[in-house]
Symmetry: C2
Subunit: 362 residues, 2 copies
DNA sequence: CGCTGTGTTGCGAGCGCTCCCGTCCCTCTC
DNA sequence: GAGAGGGACGGGAGCGCTCGCAACACAGCG
């Protein structure tokens, strides 16, 4: 009672605090807090009254104070690994954008928001934001950021299975081997005799697994591997690599490109060499872009289902944040989808119903 | 001295606090704070010592506490308006992704991070995160979120000039009228006699300004407007609208498409009608996508320079957060760039050097 | 009339920092 | 040798909220 009644320093400046609401409603701070958060056992009348006063004053609780007190910020980090000099690609490929969007929606639906953070960054940025957990896209081997986060006891869920022995809480990924094998079989079934691969020089798991799957398949069916690798983060290098691939003496009659822009790259290269698609060259690439539905010809694409992945990743993370700490990593595999278009089908397949030569079955 | 020496409750659990560092370094909490933040006047020896102890203990300052105390969170909201049912497009068009990426980098460089937030959202999500300011992409007329933020005294900078009388702190935009006029002139110079427009049904300023500019231009040069509008958020509607446009009895011999996918849409439609590009139909669309460099033929695009916009928006916002509150809105216009490719040039323009008929010069 | 039960409400102690000051002590000056 | 000056550090009050627990009112019961 001593000086509690005086309206504090600047008083009439800035936004209303919980104190002001309490005073205006004639109740205690605790009651306001309880009323607004649906806690405690207050009669509905009180609750309503407080709520009413609160939004008459335009009261908004201070997120900082709440976070400090409760230890939960409702913030989830979204991290993309750096490519080359650019802070992160994020958009070079529609995949990231789609994934991020789905993740954002999923987080929002559960009351969380996403904070975009670069994987390689000085500590100060990371420690300037109170995170409840982090989503890491495509973590690199022994990622220092991930280790640090885990050390701090924050749950980390990765999109893409972690390389090495990264101690992530959970991960979500596609079955890249199965996807590649499926495509190769698809191409072979369409009549391909020598299937080439356009791949990357980086060492992330996606590239690794896909390339390995290709090599294994080649060995199994007895085909010599025909592939070109290029730094995937360089948009120009793709066109060059596509050109190289089709310029080879052992030119493939079908190509699978691992990266989003490869479709147009390969199409352009094919034109340069006078190759008709799909007649002389079958084409498939991994992409989320809808432009391939309208290219000439439309190109068969493999979708990694970024939306499902983004959603799954966030669900797992929030489960880990809120729920019981499951002791072993949770792993989730999302199926891919092959969207078959003209580029991977021999014209109508009328004349010859069965593929010309099916290389080694099983 | 009563119980200050006891190491607090759980003590050995959780992360080290500033208290632990102080104790371990044999200095006061204040000294630790000052040493770590480069404030106060401490000898370098002390500063080094404290820093060393701090990271021996793996100390990370609590962002929540700092935010609560200082009132600055280092967090900037990034908001996209909702289209249709989808939370927000964000990625439908490469523009948003590019812009968001540039904004992220710019923010990071100044020690801020971006929080992705939907424009239409219940208060609870917004008030759950302590924002220092907000970037709003394409704010709609009388956007309630913007008003609310401004009412709270937060600076708001918009990408796209605010419709109505939205009280934003600053905005960045392209000169859409000039851009459209430039394209129309470009097409006319390439020999177009009847230029069509593929536009949107929504009422955002981009669509509005662009369409109006088109109509004005038509009136000025005495051409009957030929356009089709469709809901831009629907990816399928674009192809249909493109088709409609080319099916018209007064079929245009050149088309400008306002939205990213329009290039492929129009190209596909042209093929359906047996129109050769650019011989029978000149094509330009507004897009940030690089696929148009490799289509058949490559398509001329207008770039809105999302990177520059994203950067500018963030700079203005952070200036507003940190610097002097400038009393009137700051406005910044970013020039567009027309990337001329085959689709908007008559074949080599050799036979006829000057355009067949230049409609009304100035 | 005291005692327990039930239903409401408030006290007060922090969450982990930052920052305004005050204190202490050492050095310099006249 | 005393006072002034200034460099080095620490005390302590919060920032605005949440939450365990205590307090209080009022009923019924023995």
């Amino acid at each position: 009672m001593s000086r509690a009644e005086t309206p504090r320093r600047g008083s009439r400046t800035s936004r209303a605090g919980i104190r002001d609401v309490a005073a205006a409603a004639g109740v205690s701070i605790t009651t306001v807090s309880d009323a607004l958060n649906g806690k405690g056992r207050l009669p509905d009348a009180t609750r309503r009254h407080v709520r009413e006063v609160a939004d008459r004053l335009g009261y908004r609780p201070s997120a900082a104070a709440r976070t400090l007190r409760t230890g939960k910020s409702g913030l989830i980090g979204l991290t993309v690994t750096t490519y080359g000099d650019e802070p992160f690609t994020f958009t070079e490929f529609a995949y990231f954008a789609e994934m991020a969007r789905a993740a954002t929606s999923a987080a929002l639906a559960r009351g969380y928001a996403l904070v975009i953070l670069p994987a390689t960054s000085r500590h100060d940025v990371w420690s300037n934001v109170a995170l409840d957990g982090t989503v890491v896209i495509d973590p690199s081997d022994h990622d220092p950021v991930v280790s640090e986060l885990v050390r701090q006891g924050l749950p980390v869920v990765s999109d893409g299975r972690p390389a090495g022995s990264l101690p992530v809480t959970a991960w979500v990924d596609n079955d890249h081997e199965a996807a590649v094998l499926g495509i190769l079989d698809h191409l072979a079934a369409a009549g391909a005799r020598r299937i080439g691969l356009l791949t990357g020089t980086s060492t992330d798991t996606y590239t690794n697994l896909s390339t390995t799957a290709y090599l294994n398949w080649c060995e199994r069916v007895g085909q010599d591997p025909v592939y070109e690798a290029y730094p995937a983060h360089d948009p120009c290098a793709g066109a060059v690599a596509a050109d190289r691939l089709l310029a080879r003496p052992d030119r493939p009659d079908a190509v699978y490109g691992l990266f989003d822009p490869n479709g147009t790259d390969l199409l352009a290269a094919a034109r340069r060499y006078g190759l008709r698609v799909p007649d002389d060259l079958l084409l498939v690439c991994c992409s989320e872009s809808s432009v391939y539905a309208n290219t000439e010809p439309p190109i068969t694409t493999l979708s990694l289902k970024p939306r499902r992945i983004g959603t799954a990743v966030v669900q797992l993370l929030i489960d880990a944040i809120e729920g019981v700490e499951s002791d072993q990593p949770v792993e989730q595999v999302i199926p891919t989808e092959l969207i078959v278009r003209t580029s991977s089908q021999r014209r109508q397949a009328r004349p010859i119903v069965s593929p010309p030569r099916s290389p080694g079955q099983g």
